[in-house]
């Protein structure tokens, strides 16, 4: 199991568009992915649950990745979070 502790730095957090980009990545992997914010959790492959967490700019979350491809998944998720601020220019 891998646990990533990340801080969302893009201006709009994980709202509709960044969240859909996020799940496009997570869905490619077989590992189970849980996002934890405070005491609430969401399935990292379900956009509705991710939106329900209301992850906003500056929020810190844990991403728990568990499964056979957890190492490569963790790497990709980490890169993805880092690349989100570049999406800020367009709205959505």
């Amino acid at each position: 199991m891998r646990v990533l502790h990340v801080k969302l730095l893009n201006k709009s957090g994980l709202h509709a568009r960044p969240a859909s980009v996020f799940i496009q990545t997570t869905k490619r992997h077989s590992s189970r992915i849980i996002i934890r914010k405070g005491n609430r959790e969401a399935d990292g492959k379900n956009v509705l649950q991710i939106l329900s967490l209301g992850i906003d700019m500056g929020d810190e979350v844990d991403i728990i990745i568990d499964g056979e491809d957890e190492d490569v998944t963790a790497r990709e998720v980490e890169d993805l979070i880092k690349s989100l601020p570049a999406l800020d220019e367009s709205h959505g």
Binding site: K11, S12, G13, L14, H15, A16, R17, A19, S20, I23, Q24, N46, V47, L48, L51, S52, L53, G54, I55, D56, M57, G58, S90, H91, G92
Partner: protein
């Protein structure tokens, strides 16, 4: 032809522009109300098949809409909706396998996530609940074999409705909706983003009466947030004006970013007035360089308990992050007067505007609230430039008292941390304006609140229609007192801001610039227009015209005429909108 232009309703401008046409009232039937909450699937396989059919049909429709969309932003929104569609269908599938019928499950899932996302705790993400409702509604109408939810028989109409979903607005555009008016909505919802992208003027009017407007001819002023009544003959007469305005808007919006520098080279800061983080995002979008007035009242209203220092701190830091480089000027809670807050007790006063409000209330009864706000603002100033100012100041003693509190907190918090903090006051009460030559040592800036200043100088209630003829921010007495404040502040090296409506009035702006104002702060959507004006004005030139005359003016008409003749010479095009109102 003499037109009768009358303001019917006032609301909040969301997307700029001016539209004239017939109002078309749209009532969307609530498709979920017709669905039973707990019907069971008779045959699971058949029910699943029904879901897949509806899903693939809708997805196809959405992708088609996406590919025909003219803007990247619209394509992004539709892509996000497709992801939401797939997630909803996935959850419905699970429930069907557990024995629920497709329609009941879709209703449950849609409403469940709509509620969860609306209350997710982030104001921006909360607005995406609309997308879930939008997708759920469309999928339901596919399941039930109903086609389009709307049938608009007319073209070239102004759409008036309780609320509207993103996909409706995208699909209504080909029908040529000229403008949009809704009762509910947020300035950063997908609907608002789409309206701005597609250049559809849009205002939100909470107290609109739909039945009053049906099939009547109206004008929508997306600059001021007004709905005007018109006659059919006005439509023809106004058409050329509306066309010219459209061209002007494009040019104003194209140049909204970048600095506002007068013809003679003076940089004027153009900032936004806000009440919450939603507004802060709007300021950014409209090219504002920062927040010149963050009103805290909205953060305290409509709740049982006041926000904690921590909550305020987080909001201020977020405002700084959204604003990026600019300053965020926070005004201490201005309760009392016309802004009652349930848990703040203030005895009934015969004359609340002259009673315990603003800093009077904080110092007298709620020093703890003031302290929390000062602490939150000072802590936030580690993350960017923060200004803190106090409203309704009448004496130097009040300034001293608050400055002392600020100094104490600053000393405590400032240890080992670098603060980027400024302290200022609102100048609204004539008594503090008169002694403004004595307060420079306490202050980094003053912010002139022209709405209240005018009301107090003229002793004319802003809300009393019978004294509206006295309430005029261009009265020579008001101009002279602003001149006094500006000159005194300059001498003491104190920055002078103006954060009232006056700064977005094209006749008043040249006068303010002639008096040496440093920053103006206006409604977010007015920012591009104010920048456009500033870039055309020669502050030195107008100063020689106005300053010489300032002592000689006797009536506001003379001031208006002088400014009008100047502004109509340097920016004649900006007058189009005013001409519409002058017709009445």
């Amino acid at each position: 032809m003499k037109a009768m232009v009358k303001v019917l309703f006032k609301g909040k401008p969301v997307s700029q522009g001016f539209a004239i046409g017939k109002a078309f009232i749209l009532r969307r039937s609530d498709i979920f109300r017709e669905v039973d909450d707990n019907c069971r699937a008779i045959e699971v396989e058949k029910e699943l098949e029904k879901l897949w059919r509806a899903l693939s049909k809708l997805r196809e429709k959405m992708l088609k809409l996406r590919d025909s969309a003219t803007h990247n932003q619209l394509r992004d929104i539709i892509n996000a909706q497709v992801t939401i569609l797939e997630a909803i269908a996935g959850e419905v599938e699970k429930e069907i396998r557990e024995g629920l019928c497709a329609e009941s499950s879709l209703r449950r899932i849609t409403l469940k996530y709509y509620n969860q996302i609306s209350s997710s705790g982030s104001e921006l993400i909360g607005m995406r609940a609309d997308d879930v409702l939008d997708v759920g509604t469309q999928l339901m109408s596919e399941l039930r074999g109903k086609g389009s939810l709307y049938t608009a028989s007319e073209r070239n109409f102004i759409l008036v409705t309780e609320d509207i979903l993103p996909s409706d607005l995208i699909s209504l555009k080909p029908l040529n909706a000229l403008g949009l008016i809704t009762r509910h909505g947020g300035v950063n919802s997908h609907v608002s983003i789409i309206a701005r992208t597609l250049n559809i003027p849009y205002i939100i009017v909470p107290d609109i009466e739909l039945s009053m407007l049906n099939n009547s001819f109206i004008a929508l002023d997306g600059y001021r947030g007004f709905i005007l009544s018109l006659s059919e003959s006005d439509i023809e007469g106004l058409a050329p004006t509306v066309n010219k305005l459209e061209k002007l808007k494009e040019s104003i919006m194209r140049n909204r970013l970048g600095e506002a520098i007068t013809v003679d080279g003076k940089k004027i800061g153009v900032l936004g007035n806000v009440g919450d983080l939603e507004d802060v995002r709007l300021v950014k979008e409209y090219g504002g360089e920062g927040i010149g007035l963050f009103r805290l009242e909205f953060l305290y209203m409509n709740r049982a308990k006041r926000p904690s220092e921590e909550e305020l701190f987080k909001i201020f830091v977020k405002a700084l992050q959204i604003t990026e480089k600019g300053e965020v000027v926070i005004r201490a809670l201005d309760a009392g007067g016309d802004k009652p807050i349930s848990y703040i007790t203030n005895p009934r006063e015969g004359n609340p505007f002259l009673g315990v409000r603003g800093i009077r209330l904080l110092l007298k009864d709620y020093p703890d609230i003031l302290l929390e706000e000062v602490r939150a603002a000072l802590r936030a100033s580690m993350y960017g430039k923060v200004g803190f100012m106090i409203p309704m100041v009448s004496t130097i003693k009040e300034v001293e008292e608050v400055k002392k509190i600020v100094n104490e907190v600053e000393e405590e918090i400032g240890k080992g941390a670098k603060l980027n903090f400024e302290f200022g006051i609102m100048v609204e009460v004539p008594s503090i304006a008169i002694v403004s030559d004595r307060i420079g040592k306490y202050l980094d800036f003053v912010s002139i609140g022209t709405n209240d200043l005018t009301q107090y100088v003229m002793a004319a209630d802003r809300d009393n229609e019978r004294v509206q003829y006295l309430y005029d921010e261009l009265n020579p007495a008001v101009i002279r007192i602003i001149d006094v404040i500006a000159r005194n502040s300059k001498k003491e090296n104190v920055r002078v801001d103006v954060c009232g409506e006056m700064a977005s009035n094209e006749i008043a702006l040249p006068i303010l610039l002639s008096l040496g104002i440093d920053n103006v702060s206006v409604n977010p959507t007015s920012i591009p227009k104010v920048k456009y004006l500033i870039r055309k004005i020669n502050a030195g030139e107008i100063s020689t015209i106005i300053k010489e005359l300032i002592i000689k003016f006797e009536r506001e008409e003379e001031i208006k005429e002088a400014s009008l003749s100047y502004i109509s010479r340097v920016v004649p095009e900006i007058y189009e909108l005013n001409r519409i109102y002058e017709r009445s």
